[in-house]
Amino acid sequence: MRTNLYREFYKFSHKKVTWFAPLLVLFLMVAFGFATGKDQPQLLAMTCYGSSEGILLTLIIVVSSIFSMEFQNHAILTVLYKSPSKHYVYLAKLIVALGYNLILHLGAILLTFVLTLTGIAKPISWLAVYQYHQPLIINMLTTSSVDFITATLLISIIFLTSCLINSNAVVVTLNMVIIFVGNDISYNFLLQNAHLADFARWNPFNMLDLTKQYYNQAMIQATSLTTFQLIIGASTYVLAFLMTGYLVFRKKRF
């Protein structure tokens, strides 16, 4: 497993997109700062300057290439026979993706501290009580943790779609559609099919609103689930998608 991890980290760290895509997060954070920093500085700090969208976009761009680079470069056969088993390959790629997710969130937290010092937004006190009767810094760390779960849900969807589809462009487009349109589809479906809500509110698109609902509790009107239920639902879907992805990967003919 160590060898597999070394190979995956080596490839991942040598790709330019791994290093350049996070600039998108920085750009969006600064843009959010200028847009809302004067009116809602505390919400801005709690959401790490709205880093969630940027992180999801970055993950789609970078993580979708973890599998597709093997297909595009005809390397999958070598990767597979050089590994003790197929699940080592899948697991090593997953660990790299989760590690990247963690680094992006830690980076966003760090950047938030830096950006609060730049004067883009109004000054704030990290220890002042804000939402959930907690200090703002706790709000911010919890929002980041919740967003880590949302991002992990997206990673599991990317893994599943990457195992089903060899083309990187199709995987990227499909996942863009899922994160930008998925929750709207879910919301409209729930609105027009109220009699199915008890069942349909557990659809995976709904879970993508987890982070938004954590910092904006009014979102419960759209999701029809509590934040805790969203966490349980998202975690369950993560496991289901990752396991399905693995089964597809295991059965796939290369």
Binding site: H14, K15, N73, A75, T78, V79, K82, P84
Partner: protein, 295 residues
């Protein structure tokens, strides 16, 4: 070294490899030959545990299965295309799989790649990529090397070099299983022939024995070749057409004389004929196709 026992490989419901068994001994260079779609690449993939199969495959007495590649730690392979990441340099591509830096540098210098090994591999020519793919297969002093069309895209100098390296590694005990459509090249290095068609092995012989047996054919010329050809086909006598002659197996030389005599066709020439390697392969494949057709 490599032992393949009664393997069957399926793609969907179609059986691609049918009850194939063979051995590859240390130091031997086995040429896996067959027409397109015969199952050569599938056999290679199966040995590498990349397809579902029934039967038994073992490398150094350790079993290989689709989900356990533990026996393949000292197996190198180049299947279909060189596995190269364009965003890495040649050396970085090698580092991904190398367990011994000194050995890696030795392989680089052996293949004459030193001058460009630190360049990004996206800038490599087809031949350079192919050499890098072969270099990956030769890393870590492999006990078994599986090469699928290794001469693809190589110029004449590189082809000669690869031939020399294969012989050198085999002399040190590495076993090779090589498939190639360039039969002339393969003939220059291989010690054993594995001929496959429609998923079945039809020849598994040392090359010397194969050459000896394959020369046992007769060249035949009559005064009416079209009638002779029709006559032989009607009598189910295996023949191979060359420019002006028909080739028949040695054991058919007496029956054909009787047939020609009974049909009043005058025999002008019947002489022993040495087929070259390619002609022998084509002739054997044609015979097998005819037999399958008759069944």
């Amino acid at each position: 070294m490599l032992q393949v026992n009664h393997i069957n490989t399926f793609i969907g419901r179609k059986k691609i490899v049918k009850d194939v068994s063979f051995r590859v001994n240390p130091g031997s260079i086995v040429g896996l030959i067959g027409p397109n779609g015969a199952g050569k690449t599938t056999i290679m993939k199966t040995i590498l545990g990349l397809t579902k199969f029934t039967g038994k495959i073992s490398v150094e007495n350790k079993s290989v299965t689709e989900n356990d590649h533990g026996a393949l730690t000292r197996v190198g392979a180049l299947i279909e295309h060189p596995a190269i990441y364009p965003f890495l340099t040649g050396l970085e591509n090698l580092k991904l799989y190398s367990l011994d830096e000194a050995d890696m540098n030795h392989v680089v210098s052996l293949l004459g790649m030193t001058s460009y090994i630190n360049n990004k591999s996206k800038d490599y020519s087809m031949g350079m990529k192919q050499k890098l793919g072969i270099a990956i297969a030769l890393l870590n002093k492999p006990q078994l090397v599986i090469l699928d069309e290794p001469m693809n895209g190589l110029d004449i100098e590189a082809t000669i070099l690869i031939r020399k390296i294969i012989k050198q590694y085999a002399a040190q005990g590495s076993a090779f299983l090589i498939s190639s459509h360039v039969l002339g090249e393969l003939q220059k290095v291989m010690t054993n022939v594995l001929l496959i068609t429609e998923g079945k092995i039809i020849v598994d012989q040392p090359i010397d024995e194969f050459n000896r047996v394959s020369h046992q054919q007769f060249r035949l010329l009559t005064e009416d070749m079209p009638a002779t050809e029709k006559l032989f086909r009607d009598n189910r006598i295996p023949i191979t057409k060359t420019d002006n002659y028909l080739l028949i197996a040695r054991d058919q030389s007496y029956p054909v004389q009787d047939i020609l005599y009974s049909h009043h066709i005058r025999l002008l020439e019947l002489s022993p004929q040495g087929l070259n390697f390619e002609q022998t392969i084509v002739s054997l494949l044609e015979q097998q196709r005819r037999q399958n057709h008759e069944k």
